[in-house]
Symmetry: C2
Subunit: 477 residues, 2 copies
Amino acid sequence: MAEDSGALPLKENFSEWYNEILWRAEIMDVRYPVKGLYVWYPHGFSLRRSTYNILRELLDRDHEETLFPLLIPENEFMKEAEHIKGFEEEVYWVTHGGTTKLDIKLALRPTSETAIYPMYALWLRSHADLPIKLYQIVNTFRYETKHTRPLIRLREITSFKEAHTVHATWDDAKNQVEDAIALYREFYDRICVPIIFSKRPEWDKFPGADYTMAADAIMPDGKTLQVGTVHHLGDNFSKTFDLKYEDEKGEQKLAFQTCYGISERCIAALLSVHGDDKGLVLPPEIAPLQIIIVPIIMKKNAEEILNAAKLLETEIKSAGMRVKTDSRDLRPGAKYYHWEMRGVPLRIEIGPRDIQNGVIMAVNRFGQKTSIKREEAISGIKEQLESFKKDMKFKASSKAKEQIRIVDSLKGAKEAAETGVAVLQWCGSKKCADEIEQKLDVSVLGSEIRSEYIEEKEDTCIICGKPSKPALVARSY
Amino acid sequence: MAEDSGALPLKENFSEWYNEILWRAEIMDVRYPVKGLYVWYPHGFSLRRSTYNILRELLDRDHEETLFPLLIPENEFMKEAEHIKGFEEEVYWVTHGGTTKLDIKLALRPTSETAIYPMYALWLRSHADLPIKLYQIVNTFRYETKHTRPLIRLREITSFKEAHTVHATWDDAKNQVEDAIALYREFYDRICVPIIFSKRPEWDKFPGADYTMAADAIMPDGKTLQVGTVHHLGDNFSKTFDLKYEDEKGEQKLAFQTCYGISERCIAALLSVHGDDKGLVLPPEIAPLQIIIVPIIMKKNAEEILNAAKLLETEIKSAGMRVKTDSRDLRPGAKYYHWEMRGVPLRIEIGPRDIQNGVIMAVNRFGQKTSIKREEAISGIKEQLESFKKDMKFKASSKAKEQIRIVDSLKGAKEAAETGVAVLQWCGSKKCADEIEQKLDVSVLGSEIRSEYIEEKEDTCIICGKPSKPALVARSY
């Protein structure tokens, strides 16, 4: 549905590149007539489906999927004071049904705590019911007044994958936070996107949480994108919603909770981290199409070559891979351009000489060519896809390493934040964070960093000289 | 989360049975504090997931999945006059974002024509783009003022599976209507629910359609439930949204459209048609749990029996089936009750004597017992599940046949409509339909019936004596 005309801007002009690739690679159409709402093209939706299937697979190990309503009555929504404060400017309100004014206004969930926890209070009876670990994949809404951007800052988050757990003790909930971090790390590893977890400063935590751990990906322009959050809710919501259980001794106890979620920003990070000047680059596991066969047709033996392509397609399909033959009446170059834009990991070219020599030519999305014996096509293609995935991972982590710099001066931090993340020593105080943020025009993302690239070493604060730990500092989306 | 106390009402008291089974079998919790909105328990959600996967599989053959926004701006929504009239009393309106009044009110989609077709108009250029066949699975909203009922009459339809197609000619669209009917028949066949398609009368068609074909299932109380609709939209929406293509001769032509959808009513029909006095009865293909193993434990050889059960569980799991061992410290009878309620198709009992004799005892959800040799466990279990599915299908279609009666008098129709559907001769006029409806307190559902049980035979109208065809008449939900 998109047209193959004009050129994709260079990726070094990231913002333009991002806007253009979304429609050129048929991910989203941004022309829907409401600000902040977008339409998924089938190609984008297919990519999303396979990406979310990975997350579902991981969650299904020890969570159960469920579904709560979108509409939250005003009185429930208004129960948790901190929580409301965090969301009151952002909530969409339904006020009318047909031409009738509703008795009670209904909020479109910005997140589902206040829809879920009153039900949890009905369900939870005894310690034997714990832990409860449920998740749902739902649309959520935020009336964003800032500049909206597809997949990144939305008014309808069409797929918030939110988990909500209940535990007997604060420590059990803390352990669940760690489990969730491990789960999200595994997810991002599967889609080859490097992330860094850190603990958000007090003033940046989720409204109503004891503390928030968040995952950041580093975008090509060096700005960070928050792509997942894990919240320890303590017993804050339990108190509000009277979420209690009977312990072994028959006493009523308040439960402790966590919640964690990932939005479609995971897709934004996936597209941005891997894409290049030619278009998308997709990990084979989630690419809607893994292999495109391009028959190199000369006039005299068109039929023979098309048949050879179709035969190969059938074989590859039987082996469980997603493949298609592009037999359109176009120059091979136009076909290469088309499928590179859409991020197909592997292209197979079959021409008259290849048939003669009993080979096929495999070209991966990085442009590396390998000749594969025709009779070893399936195993050869599998190998190519496997090594392509490794290369993607290596490239992405090398780039992330480059973008993270450990600095010991404000000047060094300023420089580092121009192309990525600065790691500097910070004492944890709001005062010093404010000074860093104002002087460098950055955000202090967090401390207690979880990254294989960053050592958790004590030192003295870059501002006040008091004892300190490493903190992440960057410009962020 | 539900409790195994008290008894399920008999299914002959269908309305009570239905309300109770939803929570007893852990399908839905109806205690959410907004009328017409419900919460899916994990067991219910799992059932829903496997049911929808079947529909997805069928649609994916020649449709692509996509996603459009929930919120439709008032000006787009108001474009199609017939369409608005059909929905104006039922639409939820978002009027505020945070504390700000919105410039343009936003409708929560009651159905997505007005969200999708303006985008189709941007996408469609040439005859080569046709046909377009997309679908989405989304939540839709209706401000129902009638009595709401879980899965049947909802304010949030949490999973409307709606397809929208575009074609070059009226006849192409008509053929697509027939394809959609075939697709839905296949879907309902897979979940063992008999349905009857018919053409809705003019005054009952979808607002804006040329005509509507609808599927009805017959519920245990004899009332019909509309469980799917297929609409030929003609060029009505094309005119409104300027949906045109360039034909082979370079001329601009209006496109023709269809749309069709199934809501969670398919789950309501599934539960109601098959369930019995003991609880749910589920087709193996979609049962969250296909096999429950109940070890019959005596004190002295508890460990041996538990080990035997666990070993069998592992074998069955490796064979790709969904199985669990219930090793809770409860009487076997309590376990039987528990799993029968939740509709598990097959129970395997293993006791000391079975181990001695080298057998396992399989009991299907109808209570039929079969002894299977231990070494043939996997093939034996597969056979049992297969024949259980056949029995389910047979029972359901026998019941449906009983519930359909061909009648030639108003008196006969009145009787038939007490327990199911009356098939009578009707000329097609509104006047005669009104008379039938008023005299019998029923609805004239439709004519041009598609059912293996009903012959499309011409005769004379039961009211006016003019030439006529068979029509479906029933009380309906």
